[in-house]
């Protein structure tokens, strides 16, 4: 294994040197690679999400662009991309330090974002200060609007839109099935707190009975005591504003204590193929935040899915993966149109409607307003978009089939 990788790297390097040697000196200076820096959590609690949603898409894009001969730069032809990447160890202060370093010492041309809301929140002020545009594919926070970060862009539907979609969907369920008792759990970090803050008023407005709202810390080991309380309280609509490890935990433990709500909704991680493979028949009917699947009617969606499978031998997740890839498509398009001048890239981002694998994307004051909040559901091995109706790829199954 090691020798194979080493040989491949050597061949690549040797090839690059041979190619460069044939060029005049003046051209060589310009032909240096475009250096793109980022940190991703290879270790710590964020590593799971980063390794599924962002890292594979960064790699895929790097390969695809370099296979085409490099990144197309307005007025400068194609130049290969070189990644400058670090492990932030899921530590926010480490990520902040590394982004400073990539800007001031490594002097990278462009930056890609780290994984997760809290991380992006922490590095966005620095990248904005230095004028580096950053398009975050794993960011859900309402506070971004207030912070005034003109160089930061969020491509996912934000907590207000996401929770409005969820509340609208639940309103529909309530009308059809007379189900009313809601239980909410949320991870006690920025992601969970904001979504919970957006959701609870909507539920009260919608006339739901909120039986219980419980927060839990990142890296929680056990949720069975809370779930027992919800089962005893007769919760019909279970809403988990969760991160991947706790999404799995809540699902496993609900099964083992026979907690059978009619709607079982969990957040980040539900759309991972790992979830489907882990729970097999029991995944059927589980709902989650999202969603995306290769059958959405947008150009390149299926091709992206197939390329991801071909490169990584695993399917992309059915939510933010496609958005991560779309954010790279947007960056690629911007550089092709306006070059590497970061202020021009920002102007391009502010004014253009992009065509991507997740459909049209348009940033309004840094937030993608072209993608609505959506609800997904596992149905026969595919994560179908079930809400809103105009984006749906299937009809929602309610009540959820009992755990297998």
């Amino acid at each position: 294994m090691i020798s194979r990788i080493a040989r491949r790297t050597f061949l690549k390097g040797a090839g690059a040197i041979a190619a460069l040697a044939g060029l005049p000196a003046s051209a060589r200076a310009q032909m240096g690679p475009v250096r793109i820096g980022f940190t991703l959590s290879a270790t710590g609690p964020y590593a799971v999400g980063a390794g599924i949603t962002q890292a594979p898409n960064y790699q895929l894009w790097l390969d695809q662009v370099n296979a085409k001969g490099g990144l197309q730069i307005a007025g400068d032809g194609r130049r290969p991309i070189q990644f400058i990447e670090y492990d932030d160890r899921s530590e926010i202060e480490t990520a902040v330090r590394l982004y400073e370093r990539m800007i001031t010492e490594d002097k990278v041309d462009l930056l890609l974002p780290p994984w997760g809301t809290a991380m992006n929140f922490a590095v966005a002020p620095i990248t904005t200060k230095h004028g580096y545009p950053l398009i975050g594919p794993t960011v859900g926070s309402l506070k971004l609007k207030d912070l005034g970060l003109p160089y930061f862009y969020a491509i996912l539907a934000q907590p207000d839109a996401m929770m409005q979609a969820l509340a609208a969907f639940l309103g529909d369920v309530k009308r059809q099935h007379q189900l009313n008792k809601v239980g909410v759990i949320h991870v006690a970090d920025l992601f969970g707190l904001e979504h919970q803050g957006a959701l609870i008023p909507l539920l009260k407005e919608g006339g739901f009975e909120v039986v219980d709202v419980k927060g839990y810390p990142l890296g929680v080991k056990d949720l069975s005591d809370v779930l027992r309380g919800m089962r005893a309280g007769g919760v019909d609509l279970f809403l988990g504003l969760t991160y991947p490890p706790d999404t799995i935990l809540a699902t496993t433990q609900s099964r083992t204590i026979d907690f059978q709500p009619a709607v079982f909704y969990t957040a980040v991680g539900t759309a991972f193929p790992f979830f489907r493979d882990r729970f097999k028949a029991s995944a059927e009917g589980v709902m989650g935040v999202g969603a995306w699947n290769p059958r959405v009617p947008f150009p390149g969606a299926k091709a992206y899915f197939d390329a991801h499978v071909a490169k990584h031998k695993k399917e992309p997740d059915r939510w933010a993966s496609a958005f991560a890839y779309a954010s790279l498509q947007i960056l690629e398009d911007s550089v092709a149109k306006v070059g590497l001048d970061r202020a021009k890239i920002k102007a391009h981002l502010d004014t253009t409607e992009f065509t991507t694998v997740v459909g049209p994307v348009k940033f309004t004051r840094g937030i993608n307003t072209a993608t609505p909040g959506m609800v997904g559901q596992w149905q026969k091995g595919e994560f179908e978009v079930v809400w809103p109706p105009e984006r749906a790829t299937a009809k929602a199954i309610v009540p959820k089939p009992k755990w297998e």
Partner: protein, 302 residues
């Protein structure tokens, strides 16, 4: 207040507490005998969990049966770790403080090596499998089958450990060394061998706990450290070096955590654990169940 639910929650905690106890017993055995606090205990647990995962997923071996593989395998690993890292340290005559500080540093190094090694080999992906994760209905109450099975297995393993310590010559030698190191030496106990056995035993018990935990929770290379911390709390609850104390301490912590979380919020789980720890340290520094109230240094037997 729903009393039935409270009972339900407390029993759930008790089942988890049985595993806490098993984790803590291994660590406490090492500390009681060698004054070596192995911070990498949780990493050995993590390795046990991964071994069971692969034995089950790739070879279809029953997770309970896999204990017969994971326990001995990590026992052997523990003996090698002892020979490679600790033997020289323990052989040198030093003050206890020096020994404790140096062994702590070694085990921290071991922690990072094992954790990052696991990350390289197995990646950070979540891994888990379904085994007996169905509800078990007994007299109108619902129990998670896998937790009941894990608890029962942990109880059997602990009972075997007690039998070993009580009934065999090697076990008696270990207890003798704990109670009176000098006397045991004079009676001809082979100290390096006893230490190797003890360290391996602690490692093997960690692996067995990990195998059982893999039935209940997902695995990542980072699951170890929180369990080491839980084990430390349990050990201090039950008394340093007291195996029986660890057992009761584990069960107690499981119940207190679950009931506390149910009455307050899951955010407070760590606060509850540490709150109990601080209370015990202030009120009964020798441990809740150390009837003789000895100082931590003069640990008793089982």
């Amino acid at each position: 207040m729903n009393v039935g639910l409270l009972f339900d929650v407390a029993m759930g905690g008790l089942l988890l507490g049985g595993l806490y106890a098993l984790i803590a017993v291994g660590l406490n055995l090492q500390y009681g005998l060698m004054r070596v606090l192995n911070v990498a205990h949780g990493e050995l647990l993590m390795i046990g969990g991964y071994l069971t995962y692969f034995l089950y997923v790739d070879l279809g071996m029953n997770p309970i049966l896999s204990l017969v593989v994971t326990g001995p395998a990590v026992f052997v690993f523990g003996v090698f770790v002892h020979a490679g890292l600790y033997r020289r340290l323990l052989r040198q005559e030093r003050t206890r403080e020096e020994l404790e500080a140096n062994s702590l540093l070694i085990s921290f190094g071991l922690l990072f090596i094992l954790q990052n090694g696991a990350l390289l080999v197995w990646s950070a992906d979540l891994r888990g499998y379904q085994y007996l994760d169905r509800p078990l209905r007994i007299a109108g109450t619902i129990w998670p089958t896998n937790r009941v099975v894990a608890f029962a297995t942990a109880a059997v393993v602990t009972a075997l450990l007690f039998l070993f310590l009580r009934k065999t010559l090697a076990g008696t030698a270990l207890r003798a060394l704990m109670q009176a190191p000098v006397g045991a030496r004079l009676m001809g106990v082979n100290v390096p061998r006893a230490h190797a056995l003890c360290f391996g035993l602690g490692a093997g018990l960690a692996a067995i706990s990990g195998s059982l935990l893999s039935m209940l929770f997902e695995l990542t290379p980072f699951i170890g450290l929180p369990y080491t911390i839980t084990a430390l709390v349990v050990i201090i609850l039950g008394g340093l070096g007291s195996v029986g104390g660890s057992l009761l301490g584990g069960l107690l912590l499981g119940v207190v955590e679950s009931v506390g979380v149910y009455l307050t919020a899951p955010d407070l789980r760590m606060v509850i654990s540490y709150g109990v720890l601080v209370l015990v340290l202030v009120l009964r520094p020798s441990g809740l169940f150390n009837a003789l109230a000895r100082r931590p240094g003069q640990a008793e037997g089982t």
